[in-house]
């Protein structure tokens, strides 16, 4: 049965991993161990890095009577300079003199261990043996200490780079709910998750992906809740990635999704830690990428894109109504222009007569058929929207004036479009942004044009056939083996509590069936009763 | 003629797009596919050039009428209005 479940993912074929030819002239050379000659080592490291401007070395001596030549290496901007000054340099140059006076460092057998255990007041100190690890350490913001005559060095954890503060997420805002969003720093992001789920079973596996960029990617899941098969599958797909660089989680998303040829997203992305935590608690697996606030959640289902975290923070009746509203808006955004086209061109009898008369009066002066009118307005709106996201903030108000006045009012007055069309387009536009997930909005917008064409050719029947094709496609999709329309496509009665509606928590006793096979019960609070009623 | 040409063009297009999905299959599968495809195209060509086949219902009628004729006549007597 287990095998059967995973055989669905067979579509994702392992591509033969050819080693990337344009890897940097790297590893094999850098594999060799440190020489032990301080000057040569440092010179080699420096030249390997092309004597980059941010590469810093500092030579000094440890001890007074029998000084040992030493050097620290770090990358300026990646390390916390105060830390380096106070806890590394000062310890090694000043404090040692006062504490270990008179000792001959050369006689002390294992000076590195001594330094590590006694002098260096840093939380994380590891030994480095070869160039490769030296590069790894300094590039991740650590300071490397090399001693003359030793074939080992010490890497002292000292990261401290400037990063954005934790701010309110800009893409998925809430009225009620936590206002923290992920930042670009992976460690901050994992800490944001840890702070919400204080449980040793929250496991975070980290790996480096991208031969050139060496981006850190973390896979988070709650051991015991997440489906092991899904975790394995995520790891397997991540291991298969062979790319030069990962700059955003979108790269990962595109490289590990089940189906490549689809307008619908099959991985959820969010910059809200609470959203990720909710996913983890449902048994999903989160993928966090260093350098971007957007984390991925897998597996995901279609319904997931219409569930905002706020549904769970508001009372259940409000949450349910908001959710229903979102579904309504999904269909409005998808079908309003096409329905308008179909009704005005093919099925006029369905429009009430007074409305039909006023519509006809409006359209009297319009030279285009309804389809072109709609197409024109929709494309105009898309242009406006794209301009709105890409342009500098300062000209924002100019665009909105142009959009509202020139394209809306003036176009109607000039008789290019009918005012009903403007209403239709604005309704579509507003509805399409009700969907909490932006990538789902994009797929709605793409499909809208297809539906408009179908409506122009075949009327309502075209729309219906388009819907059938869309649903067929959606049911055929899978996200990490889970059917995409899950609680509705294969209808699962127990999961309906958290699908179209959001029942109170004391009703939702079980986790989603298909995502999670073991540890199904999520809570068992008795339903609240008024205190008087003790039966 | 134009119709025939456009059907041929469409058939070619469908063949190119669809045949790709069979590439992984056995040789036998592909052979059967090509034969059925050719039959389909041939029948379409006949349709385009207005070649008259007997209609399906006429064939079925010929086979079953001898057996069920009496029943059908009886049924027809009960009809509220005559279609023909």
């Amino acid at each position: 049965m287990k095998k059967k479940f995973w055989s669905f993912t067979g579509k994702y074929k392992k591509k033969t991993a050819k080693p990337n030819q344009d890897q940097l002239q790297t590893s094999s050379q850098h594999q060799q161990p440190l020489l032990g000659m301080l000057q040569d080592d440092v010179k080699y490291i420096q030249s390997s890095m092309g004597s980059s401007a941010d590469f810093e070395t500092r030579f000094f001596q440890i001890g007074t009577d029998f000084p040992v030549e030493a050097a620290i290496i770090y990358i300026d901007g990646l390390v916390d300079k105060n830390f380096v000054h106070n806890f590394i340099m000062e310890t090694l140059m000043v404090d040692i003199r006062t504490t270990d006076q008179g000792q001959n460092p050369h006689e002390v057998k294992d000076i590195l261990t001594q330094l590590k255990s006694r002098s260096l007041a840093a939380s994380d100190v590891t030994e480095v043996m070869d160039y490769k690890s030296v590069f790894e350490q300094i590039l991740s913001g650590n300071t490397v200490l090399l001693l003359n005559g030793f074939m080992k060095g010490l890497a002292i954890s000292s990261p401290g780079y400037d990063s954005r503060n934790i701010e309110e997420p800009s893409s998925q805002t809430v009225v009620r709910g936590p206002k923290e969003g992920f930042t670009e720093v992976l460690k901050t992001n994992t800490s944001l998750i840890r702070r919400r789920i204080k449980n040793p079973n929250l496991w975070i596996e980290s790996r480096k992906i991208g031969q050139t960029s060496n981006t850190e990617v973390a896979v988070c899941y709650i051991n015991g809740i997440a489906n092991d098969d899904i975790v394995q599958e995520v790891n397997r797909r991540l291991d298969n990635i062979n790319i030069d660089g990962i700059l955003e989680s979108g790269y990962i998303e595109e490289l590990i999704q089940d189906e490549t040829f689809t307008p619908f997203p099959t991985l959820y992305n969010t910059e809200r830690p609470d959203s990720i935590c909710a996913g983890l608690l449902e048994g999903r697996v989160a993928i966090l990428v260093d350098g971007t606030p957007f984390a991925l959640l897998a597996p995901t289902v279609f319904i997931h894109y219409f569930q905002a975290t706020e549904d769970y923070y508001q009372r259940s009746d409000i949450g349910s109504l908001m959710r229903l509203l979102r579904f309504l808006c999904f269909f409005l955004a998808l079908l309003t222009p096409s329905a308008y086209i179909a009704l005005t061109t093919f099925h006029q009898e369905m429009i009430p007569t007074p409305l039909l008369i006023s519509l006809a009066a409006q359209r009297e002066g319009v030279p285009f058929p309804a389809f072109f009118e709609a197409l024109m307005m929709e494309i105009t709106f898309e242009i406006l929207r794209e301009a709105g996201t890409r342009m500098p903030r300062a000209v924002g108000s100019a665009i909105s004036i142009v959009g509202a006045l020139v394209l809306g009012q003036a176009a109607v007055e000039a008789g290019i479009v009918s005012s009903a069309m403007v209403i239709v387009v604005s309704l579509t536009a507003i509805s399409s942004f009700v969907t909490p997930a932006f990538n789902m909005t994009i797929s709605i917008r793409i499909l809208r044009f297809g539906f408009m064409t179908l409506a122009a050719v075949f009327g309502l029947i075209g729309i219906i056939l388009g819907l059938i094709i869309m649903i067929l496609h959606l049911t055929s999709l899978r996200s990490f083996g889970v059917p995409y329309l899950a609680p509705m496509g294969p209808f699962i009665t127990s999961d309906q509590k958290d699908t179209l509606l959001r029942l109170p928590f004391w009703k939702m006793r079980e986790r989603q069936k298909l995502i999670n096979k073991k540890n199904v019960v999520r809570e068992n609070t008795p339903s609240p009763k008024p205190p008087g009623n003790k039966n | 003629m134009f119709k025939a040409f456009s059907v041929l063009l469409g058939a070619g297009l469908v063949f190119i797009l669809d045949y790709r999905s069979l590439k992984a299959n056995k040789k036998w599968d592909r052979r059967v596919y090509i034969v059925i495809f050719a039959i389909s195209l041939g029948v379409w060509m006949l349709y385009i050039f207005n070649v008259q086949f007997p209609y399906v219902i006429q064939v079925v009628e010929k086979i079953y009428n001898p057996i069920f004729d009496s029943f059908n006549q009886k049924l027809e007597q009960k009809q509220s209005f005559r279609v023909h």
Partner: protein, 374 residues
């Protein structure tokens, strides 16, 4: 096993309901009303009872071997070559039924909805949609059925409820006084449209993940479908009158036009029509699916979908060459469809069971002999 997917009992029920409703919901009220007049509803009621008996028969066929679909059963029971021969004829039947459904929807659309569009184009878009479903496989088709079923079901039920106030009981009175014989005679042609065609589900039944509920769901599906057919026939008799129902080719559509519940919602019959599009779409798709499954069995192909594309285009031709015109087609529905479909829907299952019984006895004897030897 060529088809590897599994569906569950509920999905199977929905497919059966869709199949029972598709096309017959348009055809049945008119055909029955023209031969049984005001007693048509009794005919439909009796027919559905016989329909349940047919389901019993089909379940018996499935009992021969739960894991084999009908094409495998042919070869299992009759031997390889005779089995293949019968498969050819059976596929011809499915092919004609699928073409018939396509033609029906095409005719309906060209008379009522898209009057100016040529029927070929309508058939093409329908068959292409079906083709996409067949390519995606049985699991996807049945899951899609689950999504559309609520709409199809509730819009039909709502239509029945909304037209109910206009019912006039004098339309079906006197009950069973005039033309009693006609009411019984009409049962046979009525069986033809959905019930004799149910035999195609023998190709899908083995893929239901549990056998017991699968059989039960077959009964439930046919039951729900028949109930709706009965309700629609009754309503068209009550609201439109037997004569009008008989004269009109699509009385159900006219029934939809009678809805005027809320003031501004007039002429919403297209919304009801959409409900049948779904059912007819599923009927076409199931037939088409069984056709390509059967072709794959016939030629020992690897997957079901290999031949689906050329078959799709052949189906259009089948629909076009089905009948010269609508009247001939209506005549065919009343006269020759039932015997034709009955050959495959009743006679063939009977022969299958009988042969299996005869040969199975032999096998059991052989087994006994073997057991004795040991």
């Amino acid at each position: 096993m060529i088809e590897k997917g599994k569906i569950d009992a509920r999905q199977f029920t929905i497919l059966v309901v869709m199949y029972t409703l598709g096309t017959s919901i348009i055809a049945i009220p008119s055909t029955t009303a023209s031969y049984a007049q005001e007693n048509a509803w009794i005919t439909v009621l009796l027919t559905s009872l016989i329909g349940l008996l047919i389901v019993f028969l089909l379940n018996q066929v499935n009992k021969i071997n739960h894991h084999k679909n009908i094409f495998e059963l042919f070869e299992y029971v009759f031997g390889k070559w005779v089995g293949k021969g019968i498969t050819v004829f059976f596929l011809l039947f499915v092919f004609i039924v699928a073409g018939k459904n396509l033609r029906q929807i095409g005719d309906f659309m060209t008379t009522h909805v898209l009057v100016e569009t040529p029927i070929q184009v309508i058939m093409l878009i329908f068959v292409l949609t079906s083709l996409y479903g067949v390519k995606l496989g049985l699991e996807v088709i049945s899951r899609t059925g689950e999504i559309f079923f609520p709409y199809a079901f509730f819009s039909l039920v709502l239509m029945i409820i909304f037209v109910a106030p206009q019912a006039e009981f004098k339309n079906i009175q006197p009950i069973m006084v005039n033309n009693t014989e006609g009411a019984f005679l009409t049962i046979f042609p009525t069986l033809g449209t959905p019930y004799f065609e149910l035999v195609v589900f023998l190709a899908i039944l083995p893929y239901v993940n549990r056998i017991g509920p699968g059989k039960k769901s077959f009964y439930i599906g046919v039951g729900i479908g028949s109930l709706l057919l009965f309700a629609v026939t009754l309503m068209s008799l009550l609201v439109l009158g037997p004569d009008f129902s008989a004269r009109n080719v699509y009385p159900t559509y006219i029934l939809g036009k009678k809805i005027s519940g809320v003031q501004f919602l007039e002429r919403i019959e297209i919304l009801v029509a959409i409900a049948w599009f779904f059912t007819i779409f599923f009927k076409i798709t199931i037939n088409f699916y069984v056709l390509s499954l059967g072709m794959s069995h016939l030629f020992n192909l690897k997957t079901t979908k290999v031949l689906s594309t050329p078959l799709a285009f052949l189906l259009i031709i089948a629909g076009l060459y089905l009948a010269p015109n609508l009247i001939a087609y209506q005549n065919f529905l009343a006269h020759d469809l039932a015997p034709f479909a009955g050959t495959f829907g009743i006679l063939l299952p009977f022969i299958l069971i009988l042969t299996a019984r005869l040969r199975k006895i032999n096998k059991k004897k052989k087994k006994r002999r073997k057991n004795k030897r040991f």
